[in-house]
Symmetry: C2
Subunit: 112 residues, 2 copies
């Protein structure tokens, strides 16, 4: 397993805020400008820009300036690394718990 | 989808640090004392205690004082909420991308 991956740090950190998770869900339905997002979340433009920047640095959102509007869309990353880490972790954990269960089953009833 | 869930904030935040992910992986193999963990990660006891406390507050690690040793083990939570959030997010995203693909397929070759 990869122990140090700055992208993973930034990814999980980006997900640790409810507004940022909300922005990802919102952009999952349709692209939106920073102003749209600020209005949706009842937030100042400055506040929303900061959240979008954190998501952008984590690679979860990309933005494009079109005229006077900055359009936000999902990607290029789709939480692949975060999914992979959690999946591997849970698989290893289940394997260990299964092993423990089998051990207890085998030793059941044996004189201690 | 649940937009605000402090437990989810704490869970993702706990995962955003490579040492804390490492601790979870280590405890996934076997329970360990704070001193064991500090030695494994070449860290002071104080530094390790802080990381363990963050994992404990997120419900990912529980500790028990046995004599003079504080033993750490995984649980009670197993990243269920974090897995659920990421899975739902990715499913919705894929559904949207599929829908977009079908739309493009249907409109292909039509005069614009």
């Amino acid at each position: 397993m990869v122990h140090y991956l700055p992208r993973l740090d930034r990814g999980f950190s980006a997900l640790s805020d409810p507004t940022r998770r909300g922005i990802l869900e919102r952009l999952g339905r349709a692209d939106a400008s920073i102003s749209d997002l600020a209005a949706s979340f009842d937030m100042t433009l400055t506040g929303m820009k900061k959240h979008v920047q954190i998501l952008e640095e984590a690679g979860l959102v990309s933005t494009e300036k079109i005229g006077r509007v900055r359009l936000c869309r999902l990607g290029p990353r789709r939480l692949e690394d975060e999914t992979a880490w959690i999946t591997t972790y849970r698989q290893k954990l289940e394997a260990r718990l299964d092993g423990l269960g089998e051990f207890l089953e085998r030793t059941k009833g044996r004189p201690s």
